[in-house]
């Protein structure tokens, strides 16, 4: 899995599985978004992932190039807040990772860069009830794994932090994004962006575990 050959396959398998998983949850994500937002998060993510997969079907190169291409296609097709942010997440990860060999440390570095970019673009802080509340705990937990742990092991170990983070958004009041305007009425529902981010991370886990 640290071979350059396998990396492109991992990315392709991940995004294919991510589309499957998000599609299966499309209605649920829409309902979560409707609770305090505009109800389109499921549709937006599906649209973005379809375009990302379509872009990969003609793209060549290894992980870095593929993630960049996927991120561009995702952002453009998805639109909305999640299009811009998840798109930038993919693209920045890809650019930072590059096409060379990768390991847990280089993936951590890439995700840290992506987290920084997403926070800069969206100007959201932890606690604002956004996907940051799943992403940051995950990146922190991944960074806390032993540097020599295989990625599949480290990833699985970090996953609960993302899930806990998404769970915790239930009791947060939205401050960024459309639902920010609702104040207290956003309480009691998890943030849809945080939930879909966990699905993306889980899909990666499945791919790592089977490759």
């Amino acid at each position: 899995m640290s071979s350059v050959e396998g990396a492109d396959t991992v990315v392709r398998r991940w995004l294919a599985l991510a589309l499957e998983s998000i599609s299966a949850h499309e209605d649920e994500l829409g309902r979560l978004d409707a609770a305090a937002g505009d109800g389109d998060h499921g549709a937006t993510m599906v649209r973005g992932l379809r375009a990302a997969n379509a872009a990969l079907s003609t793209a060549t190169g290894s992980a870095g190039d593929l993630l960049s291409a996927a991120g561009g296609a995702f952002a453009d097709a998805a639109g909305g807040a999640s299009g811009a942010l998840v798109g930038a997440l993919l693209t920045t990860t890809g650019r930072t990772l590059g096409n060379g060999p990768y390991d847990t440390a280089s993936v951590v570095k890439a995700l840290q860069a992506a987290l920084t970019m997403v926070m800069r673009l969206g100007r959201a802080q932890p606690g604002d009830k956004t996907l940051i509340d799943a992403l940051k705990p995950f990146v922190d937990a991944l960074a806390a794994q032993p540097a020599d742990a295989p990625l599949s092991v480290a990833w699985r170990a970090a996953l609960p932090a993302a899930m806990a983070g998404a769970e915790a958004t239930q009791s947060m009041i939205a401050r960024r994004g459309r639902s920010a305007k609702l104040g207290e009425r956003s309480l009691g529902h998890p943030d849809p962006g945080a939930v879909s981010l966990v699905l993306l991370l889980q899909a990666a886990d499945t791919v790592f575990a089977t490759s």
């Binding site: 409707a34 937002g37 505009d38 937006t44 453009d76 639109g79 673009l121 459309r178 305007k181």
Partner: protein, 332 residues
């Protein structure tokens, strides 16, 4: 609910194609982009006002493209901001030597994507500025006006910016006037029933029969409060009480008025309501200036309406009165 479509995934593309086919006398398609541009854009020496946002709000946004109004509209999918890539492409198509003003409702997705496009255009030497519309008083308290979202007030800000651009004002000046219009514009809305996204069978939200939601967003974002349904007279008071409590300081007593329908509220109902709004405005010593009772910023087929007041002064009045032509609004 949305009934007329082919593949829901093609909804935006088909609506752009249909819009351009119908109104080719005013707009054309921006090549390779999800947007339309005025037949006379760009014009050398004149600022191009670029508006945009998710679809589902017609006439916002493409209905306001044309001579004397917006130079272009970037069109996202239903309720989804257009991507930065599309904003960029549309900007490139209409950028003039006088620069570009972005004008759009203040939503996270729009801010993200327009901002990214703005940076990219500026890197390429295009002078782009941004004025976000923040008229909805329900969406953030006083003192946090810049956090408010944009709803029907879009119309006044677009009109004023477009008219300033059309008469040849500099980018600084067009930006100043759009910002001033926005600072003097306040809206508040009520909703009676939900809307349904294309291809979906359940509405985004529902309102119990006999009740209404106050301060509901134009994308079906829940309101700030729920109330029993009231007679038109009380709805008028409720709208005006809220807006007047939030009036911009020292803004005078002449107000442009827009009573905006969200989709399935009947025009006749809005006129009944406007009767009571007008009486109340008069009683408050406010002079309504050329009121508009119409559907200007909708939310698919949501039932409800919003009231917008824009406190005018002489320079804003002149711009509101300037001639323009677009699919949804023509002034002469």
């Amino acid at each position: 609910m949305t009934r007329l479509f082919n593949d829901p995934a093609d909804f935006r593309e088909e609506l752009i194609e249909g819009f351009v086919a119908a109104y080719g006398r005013l707009v054309r398609r921006v090549p390779d982009a999800s947007g339309v541009m005025a037949i006379d854009a760009p014009q050398p020496g004149k600022v191009s006002v670029v508006v945009g946002g998710g679809s589902g709000h017609y006439p916002a946004f493409c209905g306001y493209v044309g001579p004397g109004l917006a130079a272009a509209a970037v069109m996202g999918n239903v309720f989804a901001a257009p991507s930065a890539e599309q904003v960029y492409r549309v900007t490139k198509a209409v950028a003039s030597d006088a620069g570009v003003l972005y004008c759009y409702g203040n939503y996270s997705g729009d801010v993200l994507n327009f901002d990214m496009a703005e940076l990219r255009c500026q890197d390429e030497g295009i002078d782009v500025r941004t004025v976000r519309v923040t008229d909805d008083v329900a969406s953030a308290p006083r003192g946090q006006e810049e956090d408010r979202r944009g709803i029907a007030g879009d119309f006044f800000v677009f009109k004023i910016a477009g008219a300033a651009a059309a008469r040849g004002d500099t980018l600084d000046e067009v930006e100043r006037l759009a910002r001033k219009a926005n600072e003097r514009t306040r809206s508040f809305g009520v909703a009676f029933g939900g809307c349904t996204l294309p291809g979906q069978s359940a509405p985004l939200f529902t309102v119990e029969p006999g009740r209404m939601e106050l301060g509901l967003g134009v994308h079906g974002e829940p309101g700030i409060q729920s109330s029993y349904m009231r007679p038109a007279l009380e709805v008028a008071d409720l709208l005006l009480d809220t807006l007047l409590a939030d009036a911009p300081p020292d803004a005078g007593s002449t107000v442009a008025v827009l009573l905006n329908g969200l989709g399935s509220t009947q025009y006749e109902e809005m006129f009944v309501l406007y009767k009571d709004i007008n009486r109340r405005l008069q009683a408050e010593g406010l002079t309504p200036y050329k009121p508009i009772v119409n559907e200007m910023v909708t939310s698919l087929d949501m039932a409800g309406c919003s009231l917008t007041l824009c406190w005018l002064d002489d320079e804003l009045t002149a711009l509101l009165d300037a001639p323009c032509a677009s699919a949804a609004y023509t002034n002469m």
